[in-house]
Symmetry: D2
């Protein structure tokens, strides 16, 4: 076990989340060397210094470029706003560093394609931060699918809903500007797509609909401005496996706080998952006497690795931040040349291409094939 | 209060359900005259005699035509297989009887249109049996919407799932034959559409997808036969109100027994309903302190009429059959010239036209406008 | 199948409920003769006449004694206030009628003992109205226990909560007077005890606590009056089987509407039931792989007789009033000399004796043995 | 902000949990100096060395006494088996260190009393590890109570259930030996009591019952041995506030993994909490229109401090280990002379005395007053 040198760019929420993960991974898992938190970058030296102290990094810089070239750094965590990902990730890869970049890859598909090219050229590991797939429950679901517990999945429904855009009188801000992207589709649709990716692989065809619940919003200082993005997106899908389905996204869904509701219908059973109760999954199988069949609520526990590395007793509950620690361990596994449960640029680009296809299908009112899926 | 004379055609489950309702309506509500259960028809005199005894009807016949012309009959309950509805309903209306016909109107749209024409020509009441809309919870939802409790509804999701077609090794039977209709779409999609009808009115545009989870099924005696109907149907929708949404139907959804899951997203709140827990509704509103907001589970009680006519205490629960008693009372209200909560042929035909549009859109892979919505 | 002649005394909610059951039992079950609704009594002839019309009874009387002696009557339904039960039930039994009396037997234990003596002397059937035990779910639970599905039950917890006494500013009325009984204990504790009776048999020892959430209540016209009954009662129990447990009753439990929450812990599994979701039961068993165990929510369906007689499809839900129809069928079964799922006076008296023991134990602050359990 | 020097004794699960908390507290909260992880003790130098590397401690020792006297240490985390707490805590306090000791204080009440005396004599902070009270939901509940949101609480029910002793054929081990304590009562009853402590203060009187679901258990090598502890404990309680209630504990409750179910009934509403869904709480209040009242499920979010320090978005979920980080922050607050949400020895001893009273009341079959509550 050699100790990895870590560079971190960005110290907002996701930066903190990466830092917590790098800090905790050795203690939680007990089977990796404690990483060296080498250097951290923020837009000013002052802020960087303060954050380095809080987050436990040895050095700090106001210039992110010094991170990617620092000889003490093996892996660069990139947690800046999405628009900065391409430049930073490509620079790091070209400097021979491994990259752990928050999702999505970029705000425009061509940039994401360039990132993939840089990763391929570098021969380095280029991983994406897709927390939700790291829930032990999601691995359990994959095991259940692999075991044929619910037979062949023929239909899937995925909903992702939050309410941070639900207030019609909230002030217009950048998330309502076209420059920020399509709206709910890329803002968090990628999470839904990441789950489909790890559970089922590619999406073949899509037929989307995007909607604006509110035509305009008040502007600071008075007046109203037309909303340019779509807070709601729904799409019919057809998977590579042949299964049909639907993905429904709504970031103006009052009362939903972090809901990702997934229903997987198979020939021998059904699996239901709700991210707002992330320590549970429901499983229905056609077993035993018909008068005692029902959806079973499975609580996570040590039987669902790597829950056991966090808590030895079942039913006590992991939290959202713990998922990042798991992702961090998977990244290290990958760096060690092992098989890891991780979305790398090769898979990430398929997610971005699917987003692009959905947006086009919605604008053109027709089914669109996903290319390079 | 004059006592109505009742004729019943068909004594399968829905016939029994109508009979129970006619038997109970006076006792439950206490404000209508006890109906006279005059005559009942089955395909043989012998079966008819037995059923008349069980269900409390005075006379019995093996010929349904004698029911529609019987002078003692004011209202004809039609509960035979769907293919018989048009002939029977039209005959009854032409004989000057009111009609209470189970959903859907017919197996083919032109027949339904003829039924509507007959109803208009007759000047009689022609009501359809759409039980689910009679749940006091659905009326509460309508009140909540009318009160603006969740503001303007901008997005709706409706799922209807059962598992009676979920077993891939169940023998091929008539529900898999093309002659039975499209599949999940008309087999129970009409229920979902009935809820949309009473809550929101018309559907403007649809874009559907229909799928076969199993390509073929075993045939009695050996071999397999290709399935001709679609056990799964999903459709993007746009309502007349401008709201977007999706309807997802699956009659091969293992574990789902009578699920109708409805999510109504508004500018000030959200309503969630699950038919499998038909005595509950969930309501989220943006009121009060932000640290104590949440989905509220409202249990039905005497505050939700006409629950109070069944049970004086809250939380004790109505059953599915009780909904028919409520529908019966609404029909009597309508016959008395009052405003009733009921789907008559005028509304029923809009549901059938929407089904037709969804099927076409699915076959053609494009959005279709619903005509005469 | 001979047709039973029915007499009904009392037409409040439970009288209506009995009438609905007598009206529906033949149609629902299809295997019993349609009862003759012979005569009904109310305290005035006028009210009796009106109710007879509503409820479908042939005759009406203002004198209940004419019901118990009427030659056309085989069974007398007694649904008057509890204080009247002894006199009426004894008169009916002495007149050679079968009795179907609402729970509890009486307001004082000696009266209940006299009722039991009269029943024994008469040789007639004397049944009590304990609706909750008629839920198909409760029968399923008994089957599960008999099958050893959860092994030997070693601990039980039963809660029964409603909120009709929860408002501290509600006016003082008879339920707060000592003459009405102990309070929550006998007001609805008997329901909890009826479930224990049919599932486990006798209660050996009890140690109760009774509490008054509100010392006094406002009196109509002004001032306040001290509350004399206990809206809360909790008792430790030890069953004849040796299992330990607790029964907790609260009729001032805000938000609880008809909750009866039952947890049965066994050596191989656990059963959980909540009356507010009366069409569901939860079952945990130690089967299969440990990573996929969990509480299974079983929805009622045709596999749970006699649900099938009401509705042929699963998951559609029975209501509270349907339980009375089931009880009615069980009573007829008993009258036909068959084994029935019913609480008769012999069992009812054990429930009353347990109530008495709990009250004494609470007053004396010690464990009390239940006699004649 | 001065940096605290930390010593840790014991590196089992709770030791790891303390280490993770000391590692994360500065990064999570951003308002405390990063603690110096000075020295860690295990029973061998070799294990200690390995753990120091994993957990990020600078030095390691095989002798815990060197930790309590180390000048670089300000606070000693004690996470060894309960029997060792008194000696270690007293030594640390006498050496002038602050102590953070896992619950319970000791295995015998006199030892706990000695610990309290040592804490008082030292003038140092002596805190106990009672994780569950640190859930932001518990703080929210306290705010709700303080705000009078549910009026005056007049009845409480608390259940704590797990299934680690549920298998009757699991081998006899130390938890079934009398030397380990009473059983469920002290093994985890203290958690239930800690919640009552922070929400309501003292317990006045108790009347307990303890039960053995299984009389004996198999012994390794053959034969069976009589179980000496009580896996089930139930107690009636009366709080200092006058509220009545019950606490039910079961460590052989199949299917329950980490359930702490709490029902608080007040004069204006009810609060319900289930630790297995630790990011939710249910609140019923008597507000607004009666037809739309219900239990509201509140999901934790940034409105519930200090959730916001972990995650800026609501509904994403904290985990069990996060509670230790919060406890750590509270301890630092206390060390800084601020008011903290923490159970110190003064309160901890009241919990131990209550446990003792319950055990005595169960053995003597009578109500017992809690002394020094």
């Amino acid at each position: 076990m050699t100790s990895l040198g870590i560079g971190l760019i960005g110290t907002g929420y996701m930066g903190k989340c990466h830092a917590l993960a790098w800090n905790a991974v050795a203690a939680v898992f007990g089977d990796v060397a404690r990483p060296r938190l080498a250097v951290l970058a923020e837009h000013s030296q002052e802020l960087a210094d303060r954050k380095a102290q809080e987050l436990g990094f040895a050095r700090a810089t106001g210039d992110w470029r010094t991170v990617v070239t620092d000889p003490a750094v093996d892996v660069v965590s990139i947690t800046t706003p999405n628009a900065f990902h391409p430049e930073m990730a490509i620079a790091a890869l070209e400097a021979g560093k491994h990259v752990w970049c928050e999702k999505p890859m970029a705000t425009r598909l061509p940039d994401a394609e360039r990132m993939l090219a840089a990763a391929c050229a570098s021969g380095k590991v280029a991983a994406l931060g897709y927390n939700y797939i790291q829930n032990p429950i999601i691995r359990l679901i994959r095991h259940l699918l692999d075991d044929g517990e619910i037979g062949e999945v023929n239909h899937v429904r995925l909903e992702m809903d939050e309410d941070f855009m639900a207030d019609p009188e909230a002030l217009f801000y950048w998330k309502s500007e076209a420059s920020s992207g399509h709206g709910a589709l890329d803002d968090f649709g990628v999470h839904a797509l990441s789950l489909i990716r790890v559970l089922f692989g590619g999406v073949r065809r899509v037929c989307g609909q995007m909607a604006k619940p509110y035509a305009d919003r008040p502007v600071q200082g008075g007046g109203r401005r037309a909303v340019e993005t779509y807070d709601i997106a729904t799409t019919l899908i057809e998977l590579e496996t042949g299964a049909s389905g639907v993905i429904a996204l709504n970031r103006s869904a009052w009362g939903r706080k972090g809901r990702i509701f997934m229903q997987l219908f198979g020939s021998k059973g059904t699996i239901v998952y709700d991210q707002e109760r992330m320590n549970e999954v429901q499983l229905y199988t056609v077993d035993g006497l018909t008068d005692r069949q029902g959806f079973r609520t499975i609580l996570t526990g040590p039987q669902h690795p790597p829950y056991d590395r966090f808590i030895p007793a079942p039913g006590h509950g992991l939290g959202f931040n713990d998922l990042k620690v798991i992702e961090c361990r998977e990244l290290i596994r990958r760096l060690d040349g092992e098989r890891a449960h991780l979305i790398e640029f090769e898979d990430g680009i398929c997610i971005e291409r699917t987003v692009d296809a959905i947006a086009r299908s919605a604008h053109e009112g027709r089914w669109v094939e996903v290319e390079g899926r």
